[in-house]
Symmetry: C2
Subunit: 337 residues, 2 copies
DNA sequence: ATGAAAGCGCTAACAA
DNA sequence: TTGTTAGCGCTTTCAT
């Protein structure tokens, strides 16, 4: 790599000391205007930029935040990342993105890797495995090091830090209520994420609403392996005389729509379908899917905001963790009455 | 942030010099086994990890690569990112991800931001605006600094660097050929990316094949704004008596499928549909979409490989840029005969 | 108004 | 076998 211009070289060429050059670049009032001008001129000429590494080492700040995601091919996380990125870059922060692919081991590895002065703080959602094992030593380690963390979506009660969550239970209730209001009596819940905290919350919400409506039935169907279980899903839909499907994740909803089409049911006349996560699949299904939007970009932006707030106001008196709940909204499209 | 343990502190506590501690940690043969053990023990106790910043400053290597993407909500780029991430993390590299959102200005900003000792090299795809303006000063600047670059997908001939591309023209030809073989005579090309280099190549491929088959007609329809042009697309499909659609991007193909469903055409009996990018939309459409897979993950992994190769073998005699072409494959599903 | 010097945490050539 | 020293590029305090 070509050597970049350094203060030292500028100083030498200008017959000044390094510190004078440094100060001039910052327009320090104790330097004469004439010198300042000379320095700037040469710096521009060489397109001088301070070495970020050296600045970081000195200041103990990297202006970088670590983002740990379980998945990137999932639209929700991609949107969150987008939101984080927008907000962070606006404030002059870079982001280092790590994808755990739902693995506990990788999550630990990444957290440790980034914790050695590479980032000023973390924004993270726990991996599926981490939630299952409930092993949180690596995150607690961060806290011991006083590294600010913002958790989102897949959070843990055991960690006392800033959080941004989606009110999944409420969202699910709203969705089911809407189905009931539009006349549905037998609702199927299909999900590929029954073992995730958010999946459980959504299911709970659905159950609660149904429990309050004695004339409405709920029937649950977990999908473990999308590829292999098409026939089972088909059978499930055919044989249960349902008039509505709540897909607890976008994929589940998409499958429900396609399966219904395939079986010749009319949507929403015969079967209404509601999904979660307003991603590509929801917008480009036929008919277009009524879905719960978690406003993922907003969520990401909020998470970034919270973290930056911590980073910039270190002097804060006492650390008291906040939890923000992002409002969801039910986007009505053509798959419901 | 809590102060991390440093060599200095370890040295003090052990009554050794900093350099002895440093060497011990590396199991340097010139240090006595006994000392090495003592040092390791204390280091473990404090969970000592070297400060990455200091190491980078010293070595002039950051073990980080910058990834510049035009988009992240696009499945293709998300998959590429995934591939890069996998490969890089395996080799102990971190990645800094920047999303330009197709903006030239942001692209320049990011490249400059990362170029000041934050990353060892770049993997990038040009933004739409950059390709339109054809302004490449920022990339050339990187080359002047001898920073290794690997461009992928959206590349530029003006830049002499390693590249990984998809053989879009060939892929498109294969797709159209397949349509013709299965009896299609009037093919519509729908695209939301007519102004991208890849879009142009795909179109060219289609035109070439049709030119060779005099009994086959081609008709083109560009989509500028997906939301607003549904009616036009509907009209287009209805009034042109087509029997096949080639969607130059995944969205276009999805729209074609849904529109055909809506209009009551049977797929593939009345209309065959082929798309590009084997993403979520292709897998979860009804019927399932026949599509050109660009093997995006593989592409990402290859790009990472090429970059790492450059980074690790600096001694390389002469820099001679390679261009690798990733094979595409036509994945046959239910939307074609 | 300018410069010398120390130090951020680490490595490595050289000295002892 | 261990320690001293210089230096990566920068900031900043304290002389001059």
């Amino acid at each position: 790599m070509r050597k970049k211009v350094t203060l030292k070289q500028l100083a030498k060429e200008l017959n000044l000391s390094i510190s004078t050059v440094s100060k001039s670049l910052k327009n320090d009032s104790e330097i004469s205007q004439k010198t300042i001008n000379r320095v700037h001129e040469l710096a521009n000429f060489y397109n001088y930029k301070p070495n970020a590494l050296a600045v970081s080492l000195k200041s103990n700040k990297t202006k970088t935040i670590g983002v740990i995601l379980p998945e990137i091919l999932n639209h929700f996380f991609a949107k969150v990342l987008y939101g984080i990125e927008q907000q962070a870059s606006e404030k002059g922060y870079k982001i280092v993105t790590c994808i755990t692919n739902e693995s506990f081991e990788k999550e630990v590895e990444y957290v440790e890797m980034l914790n050695y002065s590479s980032v000023d703080g973390f924004i993270m959602a726990l991996s599926q495995e981490t939630q299952m094992y409930n092993r949180l030593y690596h995150v607690k380690e961060l806290q011991r090091d006083d590294v600010p963390i913002v958790m989102f979506d897949r959070v843990s009660e055991e960690i006392d830090c800033d959080k941004v969550i989606v009110d999944d239970k409420y969202a699910s209730k709203t969705a089911v209520q809407y189905l009931i209001e539009t006349g549905c009596k037998k609702i199927a819940v299909i999900s590929t994420i029954f073992d995730l905290s958010v999946g459980k919350l959504r299911l709970e919400g659905a159950r609660e609403v149904v429990a309050e409506n004695t004339d409405v039935g709920l029937i649950e169907f977990p999908i473990m392996n999308i590829e292999k279980e098409e026939d089972e899903i088909e059978l499930f839909i055919k044989s249960n005389n349902i008039d509505a499907v709540l897909g607890l994740d976008e994929t589940a909803a998409a499958i429900a729509i396609n399966m219904s089409n395939k079986l010749g049911y009319r949507i929403p006349d015969d079967i209404s379908v509601v999904g979660f996560t307003d991603g590509l699949l929801s917008k480009h299904s036929y008919p277009k899917l009524t879905t719960v939007s978690q406003h993922a970009e907003e969520l990401g932006a909020k998470a970034a905001d919270m973290l930056l707030e911590r980073l910039e106001n270190v002097s804060e008196t006492k650390y008291s963790a906040k939890t923000e709940v992002v409002k969801t909204s039910l986007i009505l499209r053509d798959s419901t009455k």
